[in-house]
């Protein structure tokens, strides 16, 4: 029963995008700050820090969740996936990322890492996700730029391609 003192930093270890990582954190350190400041992985964005905007969404043991509502010490031993883990190779994008690019699913890109992590999980859990399923998943994210329509288009196109039903048509 480890009791971690408030005024000290403690070793935290977990798997990040398939590789073991470790660093030190006070109990009060948020997972967002641990990822960005301790591990230097700045792909996960920070918006509201109270769970509303979705920018910080990562996958914790496969499930999309707010990194800003998670303490680093809570994920000891967990499997974390962030936007840095999506691309299959340094010079290639995932199908979902390609669709976002083709359909202008992002403008400033602030909301994008969180949205990608949520949609990535939805499309792998439910390859036949309906428009309604996608809308429900997106209800946990705010985007101030796109008006969501291009995001819907990108998600639906990615779903089709992941099911093996044809290529991304860059929008006409």
């Amino acid at each position: 029963m480890p009791r971690l003192g408030a005024d000290r930093r403690h070793e935290v270890r977990f798997t990040l995008n398939g590789r073991p990582v470790e660093g030190e954190a006070e109990p009060r350190m948020l997972l967002t700050d641990f990822l960005r400041h301790v591990l230097g992985r700045t792909g996960t964005h920070v918006g509201c820090e109270h769970g509303v905007c979705g920018a910080c969404t990562v996958q914790i043991d496969g499930a999309p969740a707010r990194a800003c509502l998670t303490l680093a010490v809570q994920v000891e031993g967990a499997e974390i996936r962030t936007v840095e883990g999506l691309a299959p190779a340094p010079d290639r994008l995932s199908v979902l990322q390609e669709s976002f690019r083709a359909h202008h699913g992002l403008q400033c890109g602030f909301c994008t890492p969180g949205i990608l992590m949520s949609l990535d999980e939805l499309l792998s859990r439910r390859p036949d996700a309906s428009e309604d399923d996608i809308r429900h998943q997106l209800s946990g994210h705010l985007c101030r730029c796109t008006g969501y329509a291009p995001i819907m288009k990108a998600a639906l196109d990615a779903a089709r391609r992941l099911r093996g039903e044809g290529e991304t048509a860059a929008d006409a």
């Binding site: 029963m1 480890p2 009791r3 948020l30 769970g51 998670t70 209800s139 946990g140």
Partner: protein
């Protein structure tokens, strides 16, 4: 917006957690899914000296149907209940209410018992528990006790739980044959807390309606079956809740929702009786 300092205890057993709560008293907080506690910490609305993480206690991870009720342990996340294939059959009201709790991303972490402990007056799960006449099982170092949902909620974010107690589990009565269930709510956007939420149970002789988001806690009342007396009874119920104006809606609008949405859920529950 960063949390103030606190010690963190990752409890492996229930005894460890209860010992820590007994030792720290009001300065301790149970940490479950963190979906309400972390925002409060980030905004520094609370300053506990120790968080007791109960999510790795194996004994709290169970969902069990027994004695006519579904017992849900403290470490069971909302998503786990939501994905139970038989929930629509075993307790349709709970299945319907769960879909309204926040977003998929918060249900993946948040627990059922955490929502009950947090006791937000607009929250769906406390409303469902009150509507169904469920129970809260509390446990401290010294004793165990069971409290009926209707007496557990004591006000906005206030409950009968003592500082050294934790919720070990909550029990939702299972669907009864011949009873229909319905749940609806109105909010600004999907995933927002409800402006008004309604849950209804209807059997051959009576209706029961519970309302969230209006009074400082979920309130249930017996009402007539759909017919000539229902409107007046709904009106009386709406006024008794002492709705107030706030940034989200006026008191008048809330009363109107209680009357209209209340009638709709009662009628829907009556249709679903099977």
């Amino acid at each position: 917006m960063k949390p103030p300092p606190f010690d963190y205890l990752r409890a492996d057993t229930l005894d460890e957690a209860l010992d820590a709560l007994a030792a720290a008293g009001p300065d301790a907080r149970v940490l479950a899914g963190g979906q309400s506690l972390l925002p409060m910490l980030n905004m520094r609305l609370v300053r506990p000296t120790i968080l007791v993480d109960v999510m790795r206690i194996g004994a709290l991870r169970t969902v069990e149907a027994r004695g006519g009720a579904l017992e849900v342990g403290a470490a069971v996340r909302q998503v786990e209940l939501e994905r139970r294939a038989d929930l629509d059959q075993t307790q349709p009201l709970l299945a319907a209410a769960l879909r309204w709790v926040g977003h998929a991303q918060t249900r993946n972490r948040g627990t059922v018992c955490g929502s009950i402990a947090h006791a937000d007056p607009s929250a769906e799960l406390p409303l469902a528990l009150v509507a169904l006449g469920g129970e809260i099982r509390l446990r401290s170092r010294r004793k165990r006790r069971v409290v009926a949902a209707e007496t557990f909620f004591a006000g906005s974010m206030a409950t009968e739980r003592r500082d050294d107690e934790m919720i070990e589990s909550v029990t939702f009565p299972l669907r009864k044959p011949g009873t229909g269930y319905a749940f609806r709510e109105i909010g600004r956007r999907h995933g927002d807390f409800a402006i008004v939420a309604c849950a209804a149970l209807v059997d051959a002789t009576s209706a029961r309606l519970a309302i969230g988001g209006v009074a400082d806690r979920p309130v249930a009342r017996a009402l007539p079956l759909p017919g000539p007396d229902l409107d007046e009874a709904l009106d009386g119920f709406a006024w008794s809740l002492e709705a107030r104006d706030d940034i989200h809606a006026t008191a008048r609008y809330r009363r109107d929702l209680v009357r209209r949405l209340g009638r709709q859920v009662i009628e829907e529950a009556a249709r679903c009786r099977g």
